[in-house]
């Protein structure tokens, strides 16, 4: 069976580089599945998990925005930050979630709501990816 090469790259260096059978990613216009031989495409991603299917097993990678570039044999995901499930710092993510929730509930005019909401989303995404419940 044909496979796809997946690269996940962030400014701090490559995060993931491997051959997989199928990729499922959340783009701004909905979830897409990418199989080998896909037409060249570029799509922005939302904060979420990228699922990488390989030999019947599924790996999860947390991606914080960015976009995906698809070519027939190669998929590149460019994100400003990204973590594979095993390298997620759960305690830090939980703390970030708590902080963001407090900020959102504080309801002060000075709070930057969109920012707090984004960091809440990121933290929840990390926790979900770590626990594998997507």
């Amino acid at each position: 069976m044909k496979t796809l090469t997946v690269n996940i790259v962030t400014p701090d260096g490559p995060v993931y580089d491997s051959e997989v059978d199928m990729i499922i990613a959340k783009t701004a216009s909905g979830e897409i599945g990418i199989l080998p031989g896909h037409i060249p495409m570029v799509a922005p991603l939302v904060i979420g998990a990228v699922k990488l299917k390989k030999d019947g097993k599924t790996e999860y990678v947390a991606v914080n925005g960015g976009f995906v570039e698809v070519r027939p044999e190669k998929v590149t995901i460019l994100a400003q930050s990204s973590e594979v499930a095993s390298s997620i710092d759960l305690a830090r993510a939980k703390e970030a979630m708590k902080r963001a929730e407090e900020r959102l509930q504080g309801k002060q005019d000075t709070t930057d709501f969109s920012r707090a909401e984004l960091s809440l989303k990121r933290a929840m995404n990390r926790i979900n990816v770590y626990e594998g419940n997507i």
């Binding site: 690269n7 790259v9 962030t10 400014p11 701090d12 260096g13 490559p14 783009t27 701004a28 216009s29 897409i32 037409i39 060249p40 495409m41 570029v42 799509a43 922005p44 925005g65 960015g66 976009f67 570039e69 070519r71 590149t76 460019l78 400003q80 930050s81």
Partner: protein, 286 residues
């Protein structure tokens, strides 16, 4: 002539200083290695993002995106990357001089420009001069990660988008080699010089549309340009500090050898004088 004791204490203190500068030189050398590795890790990301941006920008004739179009310049922003600490030779003063010259040339009033400062030296310099420093980041680690400058980068790009200023320039030391760094001025926004020399103009399908992708892609691209400059600047900083400390150590050892010469001469003079006195005294007794 200085007394023997004075010379001796100068030699000792110079030796102590040279030990410190030598240690700092070695620390900077190892930090430079790490900084170069970081810069290398960043290359694939930048290369890829440039490729996609170029493919989209050339693929669509629609250049109406605000980040791609130049508009009449009323206000300019300067993002200045300096170090937090000194003892790095002319590293900071070169950058600051270049920025000051550019500002003096282009602007008559201090309302015409704003400053973003990365690094304590730059921030203090512009605050002291009374410039409008919008945002600053200090005390960055030696191996900065993207998260460290995300805020300032987002703000710098965001304020261009909402029209606070019409140009964004970036000043930093470009790392040429371990012994040479050059001050670089780079126009970040508007993105007028996106590399069109890419041969692989793969025609992409855009999901949902090219405009929507540019909306996400261009800020990300501009922010990563800033991060790239920071990594470059950090590598230059360590290299500059390394060579500054190397020449300090060299100067110290030259000074020590000169002082040792003076010391020995003075000691010899003292001994000779003593002998002359003894001989003179003995001769007087006869």
């Amino acid at each position: 002539m200085a007394s023997l004791r004075d010379i001796k204490s100068r030699i000792t203190s110079t030796k102590k200083t040279s030990q410190i500068t030598k240690a700092m030189q070695m620390v900077s050398a190892s930090k430079l290695n790490r900084a170069e590795e970081n810069a290398k890790a960043y290359v694939p990301y930048m290369g890829k993002i440039q490729e996609v941006v170029a493919a989209i920008a050339t693929g669509t004739n629609d250049s109406g995106h605000p980040m791609l179009t130049s508009r009449p310049v009323k206000k300019t922003a300067y993002l200045v990357i300096t170090s937090d600490r000194g003892l790095a030779g002319a590293y900071n003063s070169n950058v600051l001089r270049a920025v000051t010259n550019a500002i003096n040339e282009r602007h008559t009033s201090s309302d015409d420009y704003v400053i973003f400062a990365i690094g304590r030296m730059g921030r203090d310099f512009f605050v002291k001069r009374g410039s409008n420093v919008i945002e600053s980041v200090v005390a960055l680690p030696d191996q900065p990660s993207f998260a460290d400058i995300k805020e300032i980068a987002r703000k710098a790009v965001g304020m261009f988008t909402d029209g606070t200023y019409d140009e964004l320039y970036m000043y930093y030391n470009h790392f040429v080699s371990a012994i040479s760094q050059e001050v670089t001025e780079k126009k970040v926004l508007p993105l007028t010089d996106i590399a069109v020399e890419m041969g692989t103009t793969a025609s992409y399908e855009f999901e949902p549309s090219a405009e929507a992708i540019l909306e996400v892609l261009l800020p990300q691209y501009a922010e990563s340009l800033i991060f790239g400059a920071l990594l470059d600047g950090k590598a230059s900083e360590h290299a500059a500090r390394m060579s500054a400390m190397k020449s300090a150590t060299d100067n110290a050892s030259e000074l020590i050898s000169n002082l040792t010469l003076v010391y020995n001469r003075a000691r010899q003079a003292a001994i000779t004088q003593e002998i002359t006195e003894i001989v003179g005294g003995a001769a007087a007794l006869e």
